[in-house]
Each structure stands twice: as structure tokens, then as C-alpha cells.
Amino acid sequence: MTAVQTRIPVADAPAEPNRLRRGLPRIVAVAVVLVLAAAPLFLAPFATTTLTRIVVFALFAVSLDLLVGITGLPSLGHAAYFGAGAYAAGWVSINVTAEAPVPLLVGAATGAVAAALTGWITVRTGGVFFLMLTLAIGETVQQLANTWEDATGGANGLTGVPSVRLAGEPLVNAGYLYWYVLAIGVVGFALVWLVARSPWGAALRGIRDNEPRMRALGYPTAVYKYAVFVLAGSVAGVAGSLLVAQQRLVTPADLSFLTSSFALLAVVIGGAGSLWGACLGAAVVVLVRETLGASLDGHGPLVLGLVFVLVVYLLPRGAAGLRWPRRDKGRST
């Protein structure tokens, strides 16, 4: 009996460090969420609002990373779906109801429908054509927002969006609003994270690495790419609905090429394919743009351009490459 009992820990011993290493990311993730949740308790309202914006932008960047980093579809017009979700959520808040799940669901549905309408042709192109087509979609949607004044308010944007309401109560307080945004952001992140780890996510990475080979293995790759394009559009739409909940305003700038490129920048800073990296990148982008940018005479984009160049040269794998140096020395190709 004692012999058996002593043998078990011995047999288990080599597994211990492994289990710890596997458990660590989970512990860190829970800790990060707890700290984020507690943040408004000891932050000034202004800082809480910045944090809210970071969470919104992080969810948007994560949805883009699903395309760029995981599937290898470098979209230049992803803000179209973010903005479409924001406009739709704003419009429904003004004209129908601002009661909590409604603007959110409308944003998600609008992002998904917009992606579904534009995605089928887009995902069937590759390389430069994909870049140009997504760019063109972004520009077209922005033009639409500019000119369709009845619904979008034109160049002035959609103004006077009421506060989002939860069980009848408007979320006016910056802290409550932050918690609302954080809760949805965490759920959205978890959703994308689960997809990335699923068998379907493995297939998406296979498509990124070698699409012709995936077809030869019997994967209808266009269908997979279309589905992930729609999903990413939908998550971007959710992020858009959070944006309008925070800003209470949507302007054509929110679906501009600049917004798309900021999200791409966040993905690259974090390391394409790393979802938590995209969140980190989003934090950097928002902080530089809003905090530094103001003190630099509106040269925030310039600073971000420099950050981009530095990241590309110094950290080709982004922040994610910092944490886990690759150990495979024998890399030959």
C-alpha cells in the first residue's frame, strides 16, 4: 500500500512542470480579466474611458487577426464591417431601442451580412487582388456612409445616440459602461479563441500555410475562408456596437482606411496569429493615438508609423515572438 503511494508521486513528477506550464496561461488569463474588471475602482473616469476604448479596439483587432494571422487573409478594409456594425447599432438605438442586447445583436448581424455580401468574391481572390478588393470595399462603404445622409448623418456622422440601457437603466456612468464593454469584449475574445483552437481553426491555419495542399486533402477552402470572413465581420460588428455605446457617435472616419490600418498595426505589433498579442497591440495603438498623439500636435499616426517600422524590423513575430523564443534551431526553410 505504502509502496504504491510512494510510486504515484514519482511517476507523476516529470509531468508536474508540464502541467504547471500548461496551467500558467490560464492563471494569467484569469488574473488579467480580474485586474481589468477591477480597474474602474481605482482609475479616474478619464482613464476608464481610455480603457473602454482599448477594449473596443482590441475586440476589433482580434476579429481582424482571425483573418490576417490565423487564415492568412490580409484585409485592408475590415473597418467596413466594424463601422457598419457601429452605424446599425447607433441607428437602432436612436430609432428603435437602446436596450442592451438589441444594439449588440443588430451590430453583429449587420457586420455578418455586410461580410456575407462582400466576402464570396473577395475570398476567391488572392495576393494583390485580395488587398485591392478589400481596400475598395472599405472605400465604398465609407462613401456610402458619407452620402446616405438620411440613415448615417453624412459627413457629420450619426449623432445623438442614446446611452445603451441594461434592464431599463441607461449606462451613463463610465465604470458601468466599461463593465458592459469589457463583458462583451471578453465573451467575443473567448469565442474567437475557441474557434482558433478548434479543428476548424486548425484547418484555417492549414489554409494560411498552404491552401492548394488543403484542397488536395479534401478541404473546400473557399467555403472555409468565406465562413471565417463572415464570422470576423460579425465580431467586428459587435465591436462596432461597443464603439457606438462608448462614443455615442459614429462618423465615416470610424470605417476609414486609417481605422483599418490601425487595426492591422495592432495585429502586427502583437504578432499576427496571436490573439492576446492583438489585444496588446490594440492597447499600444489606442494609447499612442490618444495620449501621445494629443501632446504631439496630432502626429499620433506618425508615431504609430514609426512603431510599425520598428516592430517589423526588430520583432518580426510581434510581441508574441518576445515571450516564446523559438527553440527549433534546425529550421531549414
Binding site: 481553426g201 486548425a202 479534401g218 478541404y219 473546400p220 526553410t333
Partner: protein, 251 residues
């Protein structure tokens, strides 16, 4: 016939790479396709599997005409191929690579949410061990040697549960030991899998094949038993001709 092609044709510009090929492969056959460089063997493979569209001609798998079907559909009907130039997934380990093929073909659902993939992994590792890659499962593909990658290609192809297995020069770049392991793998193939293999190593061909088709300049020069092919004057001529040309270019 397990596979029948009729009048398959494919040109690149003025070059008729495959020029009206009729090919019949019997069920369960170990059929080799040989011919000098540039004969059109790889192109013929791609026409058969649907990787490339034929300009003319038909392909039948079993008693089914698959000419109009995509590569994806043909794969699901049991065609599985390895590429001449190993072409795999740069960010994956060997096990992940095989698992990708296993999950597609073993009836487990490809869900967009995580699920226990223990059976898939185990099957993948089994397949790796089968081709001589036991213990290499967690190695990233780019860190595998050239020969190991070719072995991995074979494991991936087998993971697709093929009824018709097409191997394009699987032994090219393999060490002698890896080559010997490949011959064993081919010998152990279940009898209901039909094998069509392109290979330059004629020793390997004659030790594996029970039928041989010789392709030359996009056309079938001869189709027969290994002995008939070995005895053929035309075949010797085609190979020697190619050799002479190479010498011309090199000299």
C-alpha cells in the same frame, strides 16, 4: 478498372505535356508510371486528381466519371496524392500535419469549437510510426529532413483513407534506410488500395510494381508487365535518348 483515363490532354502553350493518354489501372494494382524527365508524369497525375484541369479527355474512378468533379470531391471519393515537391504546412508539427488529414477523413466532425481530438492524434501518430517517423511527431515540419518530409507526405496521403493512392516520386531525396522503409510501407499496403506510383528509381519500381506504363513526350509508349517493359527496345531507346540529350546539355 480502379482508374481509367481516356484521351487525357493538357498543353502549356505549344508544348503538349500530356498528349492523349489512355491509362487503365486495375483494382488493387501496384501500377508504376515511368518515363524520362519532362515526359508528363506529374502533369498526368495532376489531371487525374483534378489539381489541374484537362484540356480534353475523361477520368473515371471505379465506375464513376469524375472528369467534372473538383479536386476536393475527387479526394473525398478516395483519391489521395503526394506531390513531387514536398509541400506541407510550415507552422505545424508532423503530428498536426497528419491530424489535419485524419480529421477530414475519419468521420469526426470539423467543429468550430474545440473538441477532444485524442483519437485523431493517436491515429496520426500511428500513421507517422507506420512510415518510419515514430517519435518525430512533435518536430516542426521545417525542421524535418528532406527525406523525412517525403515520408510525412506518404503518411498524410494514407491518412486520407484512399482507395487510389498516387505517389509522385516518393523516394526522391530519401536515404537508403528511408527508401527501404518506403518499400516496406508499400508492400504492407492493404490489397484494396490501388497504387499508382511515379518513380525514377527503377529498382524500386520493379520491386514494387506489378504493372508498368511508360510515358514519353506526353504519350504512352508502352503499358505492360515489368518484364515486358524491361525487355522493350523502345523503352531503352527513350531513356537512352533522354540521357544523350542530358549529356548534350551538360557538355
Amino acid at each position: 478498372m480502379a482508374l481509367r483515363s481516356t484521351g487525357l490532354r493538357r498543353s502549356f502553350g505549344a508544348l503538349a505535356a500530356v498528349d492523349g493518354v489512355d491509362l487503365a489501372v486495375a483494382p488493387g494494382a501496384r501500377h508504376a508510371l515511368i518515363g524520362p524527365n519532362g515526359a508528363g508524369k506529374s502533369t498526368l497525375f495532376k489531371l487525374v486528381t483534378g489539381t489541374m484541369r484537362a484540356d480534353a479527355g475523361t477520368v473515371e474512378l471505379g465506375d464513376r466519371d469524375v472528369t467534372g468533379l473538383s479536386e476536393v470531391a475527387r479526394c473525398r471519393l478516395g483519391m489521395s496524392q503526394t506531390m513531387q515537391h514536398a509541400s506541407l504546412f510550415g507552422s505545424m508539427t508532423a503530428t498536426e500535419t497528419v491530424a489535419l488529414a485524419v480529421q477530414r477523413h475519419d468521420g469526426s466532425r470539423i467543429t468550430p469549437w474545440p473538441r477532444r481530438q485524442r483519437a485523431v492524434r493517436e491515429r496520426a501518430e500511428e500513421l507517422l510510426a507506420g512510415v518510419g517517423l515514430a517519435g518525430r511527431g512533435s518536430t516542426p515540419v521545417p525542421s524535418l529532413s528532406h527525406g523525412e518530409r517525403k515520408q510525412l507526405e506518404v503518411a498524410v496521403a494514407l491518412a486520407c483513407k484512399p482507395s487510389l493512392l498516387l505517389l509522385d516520386e516518393p523516394a526522391a531525396g530519401m536515404s537508403a534506410a528511408e527508401r527501404a522503409r518506403l518499400v516496406e510501407v508499400l508492400a504492407e499496403l492493404p490489397a484494396d488500395i490501388t497504387l499508382l506510383i511515379v518513380e525514377h528509381d527503377l529498382d524500386l519500381v520493379f520491386s514494387v510494381a506489378d504493372a508498368v506504363t511508360v510515358l514519353h513526350l506526353g504519350r504512352v509508349l508502352l503499358s505492360g508487365t515489368p518484364d515486358e517493359v524491361r525487355a522493350s527496345e523502345d523503352v531503352r531507346e527513350a531513356y537512352l535518348g533522354a540521357k544523350r540529350r542530358e549529356e548534350l546539355f551538360l557538355g
